[in-house]
Symmetry: C2
Subunit: 267 residues, 2 copies
C-alpha cells in the first residue's frame, strides 16, 4: 500500500489542523497507520479518513476527546449509540438552560425586581426523611429532583403522610466550592426508619432570616442576593447550612412556584 497520506494531505482531506492531528496522535485518539522511526514522519491510511471525520464531527459538538475515544472503541452499535444519545441529551439540556438564562437576563438588566421582605422566623425542631450526598453544583438540580422523587416513593411505600413541603439543606462548602453536602428532605410527623439511601433526619431548632421567592428557580439568585444583603447589613449572619423550602414546586407555570430561602442568623 503506497497510498498513505502525509499529515498535510490528511489535514486537507479531513479538515483537521496539523496541530490537532499531532495532538490526537499524542493522546492515542488517532494513531497514524505508520510513523517513520527515523524522521518521525506520520503517514495516514485512506481508511483513517472516515475515522477522522467522525472525530471532527463530534468535536464540533464539543464532545470531550475521552468520550470520543469511548465512541470509537465501542464495538457494538448499541453501546456506541448510547454514548452518542447521552451526549445529545446533554446538549439539549444545556440548550434549554441557555434559553432560560437569556430570559432571566432580560429581567436582570431591564428592571430591578422590587424585592421581597425578609422576616425572622425560628424554624422548630422536627422529624424528616432525607437523602444526603456530596453534590457538584452542575448536577444539583437533577440530583435534587431524583432525591425528592425517591423520598416521595419511600413515604408512599411506608404509608406515611408528609408534615410539610419538600426542602433541602445546602452546606457552605456547596456554595463556596461548588461541591459539598446537600440534604434533600421531607418533613414527617413522627420519627421513621430509613432504608437504603433514605435516612431519618432530626432538625435542630434554628433561627433564620426567611425570604419568599415567587417564580422560577432560575431567578432564585436574586432572592439570595437580597437576603444576603439583608443579613450582612445587620451583621447577624450565623453558621449553618442554608435551607430551601419548596412550598409550591409542581406548578404548571414556573411563575407560580414558591420557594422559601432560610439563612441562619443569630438571636
Amino acid at each position: 500500500m503506497a497510498s498513505l497520506f502525509t499529515i498535510g494531505e490528511f489535514s486537507r482531506a479531513t479538515h483537521l489542523s496539523v496541530k490537532a492531528l499531532r495532538y490526537y496522535d499524542e493522546v492515542g485518539l488517532l494513531t497514524p497507520a505508520d510513523t517513520d522511526p527515523g524522521s518521525g514522519y506520520r503517514r495516514y491510511a485512506v481508511a483513517q479518513v472516515p475515522v477522522a471525520q467522525v472525530i471532527r464531527r463530534f468535536r464540533d459538538l464539543e464532545m470531550p476527546l475521552d468520550r470520543i475515544k469511548d465512541v470509537l472503541a465501542a464495538t457494538d452499535r448499541t453501546a456506541r449509540d448510547r454514548v452518542v444519545l447521552e451526549h445529545l441529551e446533554q446538549m439539549q439540556a444545556k440548550l434549554e438552560e441557555t434559553q432560560a438564562t437569556v430570559a432571566a437576563l432580560q429581567g436582570l438588566l431591564e428592571a430591578r425586581s422590587p424585592g421581597a421582605q425578609a422576616i425572622h422566623r425560628t424554624l422548630p425542631a422536627a422529624h424528616a426523611v432525607s437523602i444526603r450526598d456530596r453534590v457538584d453544583w452542575q448536577e444539583a438540580e437533577r440530583w435534587l429532583g431524583d432525591a425528592l422523587a425517591e423520598l416521595a416513593g419511600a413515604l408512599k411505600a411506608a404509608d406515611v403522610v408528609r408534615a410539610g413541603p419538600n426542602g433541602a439543606l445546602y452546606s457552605t462548602e456547596f456554595f463556596e466550592y461548588h461541591d459539598g453536602d446537600v440534604v434533600a428532605f421531607v418533613p414527617v410527623p413522627d420519627p421513621i426508619a430509613g432504608s437504603g439511601r433514605v435516612e431519618p433526619f432530626e432538625f435542630q431548632a434554628c433561627t433564620c432570616a426567611v425570604m419568599v421567592h415567587h417564580g422560577p428557580f432560575t431567578t432564585l439568585d436574586m432572592t439570595y442576593g437580597a437576603l444576603g444583603s439583608y443579613v450582612t447589613e445587620r451583621a447577624i449572619g450565623a453558621l449553618g447550612p442554608i435551607r430551601e423550602n419548596y412550598v409550591i414546586d409542581n406548578a404548571d407555570d414556573p411563575a407560580d412556584l414558591v420557594t422559601e430561602v432560610c439563612w441562619p442568623v443569630t438571636e
Copy 2:
C-alpha cells in the same frame, strides 16, 4: 458602612465560588470594595451583589470575561445592549450550527454515502474579480458570504456580466493551520479594474481532480475525504490552493446545492 460581606458570605449571596471571586479580583473584573492591607481579607459591598449577579449570568451564557468587562464598562445603555445582542446572536448561530452537525452526524454514522466520481480537468486560465484576505477557520463561511456579496455588487456597479459561478481558493495554510489566505472570486469575460477590497485576478491554467458535491456545505467534508483519498491513492497530489466552485449556491433547499471541489494534481 459596616455592611460589608466577607468573601464567604458574598459567595453564598451571589452563587459565585470563592475561587471565582478571587480570580475576578485578580483580573480586575470585580474588585472588592475594600481589601485589608495587612491580612489581604476581601470585603464586598452590598451594591456589588447585582454586579456579581450580572457577571454570573453572562458566564452561564459562556461569555468571555473580557467581553463581560466591556458590558460592565459600557456607560450608555445603547452600547451595552449592542454587546449583549451581539453575543446572543453568536449563541444563536452556534445553536443552528449544532443542529446541522447533529443532522450530518446521523448520515456519517448510519450509511456510507455512495461517493461521487473524480474526474480530471484542466481549468483554463481566466480573468476574475476577487477579494483576498487572511481568514480564520471559524469565520470563513461568514467571510465568504460577505465577500461574494461585495463582488456581486461591484460587478453590478460596473455593469459587467459574470463569466461563471462564484468560487474561492483556499491556501494549504488555511487547512493546516486553520488560519490562512482565502480568495473569493467571480469569473469575468475581460480584465477589469479593482477598487477598494475588490481586485482583478488572473487564473493560471491548472490541472485538477474534480469532484462534484451535491447537498449542504455541512457535508462537504465527505467529498474532501473521498477526493483526498482518490488523489493520495494515485500519488498525484500537486502544490497549490484548493478551489471550490459554487455552481449552485442559492437554492431554497440545501439538498439542491452543487459545489465543485478542485484538488491540484500533476500532469
